[in-house]
Symmetry: C2
Subunit: 355 residues, 2 copies
């Protein structure tokens, strides 16, 4: 179907690179693999992600999928080493810094940056999957002199991977990920840091809220310091705004200024409503239904069979971790108008629920 895209060379057979290679192979595209680690290369080939690149191979598209600190060098090498018409893209988390480093490159018109918003807490080719990008946003970030043919080739790659293209300039992209990813990550790490060394009987009061807030803070510090460090201008700008607002919060708390505190909290509520909803549409009003579920295999299946029979679609689900009890609380989020119906259906099957 998209065989005219190939051959595609993937430089860096880690999680992201190998996943892209697998998606291309699934579409019948010839894939050439390059990696400084012969072991990664063997593993990725063994998984059916493509064949090791030979000196005579000339790729039509090179996808650079190396760690953030090596992006600019690897992109330059790809532009230098391939054919006159070879398109080069990368999948790095930061777009301006590598582009700045490449500004004087004679073949820059053949380069278009990109960034798939997907990942896993695992890394390496064994964690790869052709489905890693299905339905995920994938930023395409042409610069001022990018060729149209290069932009089209990268858009085809995004399509082959089943992702949803989002077109942004490199500068806009970096501001966007500072806001939607890097600053939230740093704030999550700051909250998590306050829990390190806290008294266990204080931590016994931990609820779902702080678990949610600190979840992303569990990510690899080395990788995230490269990502955030590579986007320092955008991150520092936004972080200064947050620090100034934190000072206002601190002042309101210290002065007992309830009106000020409430207005800062209301600003946060407005922000949560700005997040795009499922399927990219406006956020739909959801209601939570809680169900008590015995904590052993089979009970969740029984619950979801009864949920399925009710005909009410589940927007989200989470299992609440309860200290000290062999019973779980499952939260089912459904459209606001359907909660009463779901509760009635589940209670008629003997489930203990509350909203």
């Amino acid at each position: 179907m998209n065989a005219e895209l190939g051959p595609v060379e993937v430089v860096g057979a880690g999680l992201i690179g190998t996943s892209i290679a697998l998606a291309c192979r699934r579409a019948g595209i010839d894939v050439l693999l390059t990696d400084t680690s012969p072991e990664h290369l063997r593993t990725a080939s063994g998984l059916g992600a493509g064949r090791a690149k030979q000196p005579e191979d000339v790729p039509a598209l090179v996808v650079v999928a190396v760690p953030p600190d090596h992006l600019a060098t690897a992109i330059a090498a790809a532009l230098d080493g391939a054919g006159d018409d070879t398109i080069v893209t990368d999948v790095g988390s930061v777009k301006s810094a590598p582009l700045d480093a490449l500004a004087a490159h004679p073949h820059l018109a053949r380069y278009v940056g990109s960034h798939p918003m997907a990942g896993s807490e695992r890394s390496g080719p064994l964690a790869a999957s052709a489905d890693l990008f299905t339905g995920r946003p994938w930023a395409i970030t042409p610069h001022a002199s990018s060729r149209q043919a290069a932009v089209r080739a990268v858009a085809s790659l995004v399509e082959v991977c089943g992702a949803v293209p989002v077109r942004l300039t490199p500068e806009e992209h970096d501001l966007a990920v500072a806001r939607t990813s890097h600053v939230p990550h740093l704030m999550s790490a700051l909250v998590a840091g306050t829990l390190a060394g806290a008294a266990p009987d204080h931590l016994a009061l931990t609820g779902q809220g702080v678990r949610d807030v600190t979840r992303v803070a569990g990510g690899d510090p080395t990788l995230y310091s490269q990502i955030i460090g590579g986007n320092s201008a955008a991150v520092a700008g936004l972080l200064r705004e947050v620090r100034d607002r934190l000072d206002l919060v601190l002042e309101a708390v210290t002065d007992g200024d309830r009106v000020g505190l409430e207005s800062l909290l209301a600003h946060g509520v407005a922000g949560t409503r700005a997040i795009p909803g499922k399927h990219g549409g406006p956020v739909q009003a959801v209601a939570a239904v809680h169900v008590a579920v015995p904590d052993h295999p089979g009970e969740l299946a029984r619950l979801f069979a009864d949920v399925g029979a009710s005909g009410v679609n589940i927007e989200d689900v989470r299992i609440d971790h309860d200290p000290g009890r062999p019973v779980g609380l499952v939260e089912l989020d459904v459209a606001e108008g359907r909660a009463v119906e779901l509760v009635a259906a589940l209670e008629s099957k003997g489930w203990v629920t509350h909203r």
Copy 2:
């Protein structure tokens, strides 16, 4: 079974008060209801949560469940108005400030504070449930002169409600909730605030991480400004520490100090590992398995039937909101050693998975 606890008077027939009343009624305890709103009182009685208190009724235990700003007044009224042996507790989110306000009360020995760690985004008696507290932590916070009989009565109430008692001094409680709830809430609100008014094509890159970080920021600003304002000393102290650490992060980002940044992020990782795991035990290493699931009723039931048949217990589950596609990604968290087995079981049933 615990009928000797009664009669229990519940002051304030909102979500928490009515839920406690329902749990007591379920245990066969006589429940007396008081509320300034005749409508709440009628609704709660109608739900079977108890009967309106009459002048001749003398409760053995009074549970004060009113908004934070009215706690001290309502606790004092309960100590003044009831019998010489009546025990008084409250369920407020903050413990020191009301106690300070009551310091000179002649009957203070009959008061023991408490705080169930449960709630709902809904409020009012109609949202109440006898199961709201099942398996949740419930702090019991005696002060220096609390009678032992009073502490025992409150512990019985916690047991009747199916919650897990956590004994703390009022001061420790307030420090604990500043750390596990109030400061995380404020930080979540600050992150959410940066999304308000952001460009929609920037927000298109929003992933699950920032959704998690900002989830609690959707809570009612009026209620949270009362809660946080009532714990201002503990919150301000910890928030100052966080602000100082945020300044270090900002400095590391601005100076390109990767080592410093990485060490601050590693501190966050240590904090996420300090959070108590499921069943209050140490955190178990979990692995995530992702499954692509068509987004319509019935598919989740089919998935969980296959999960149940695999015999692998699910620690947590979440549905990833994907923009633009009618397919959901369900993340199943399982013990690290069982992930390979689960993937094999699901793929044999035709599910598309990745780790």
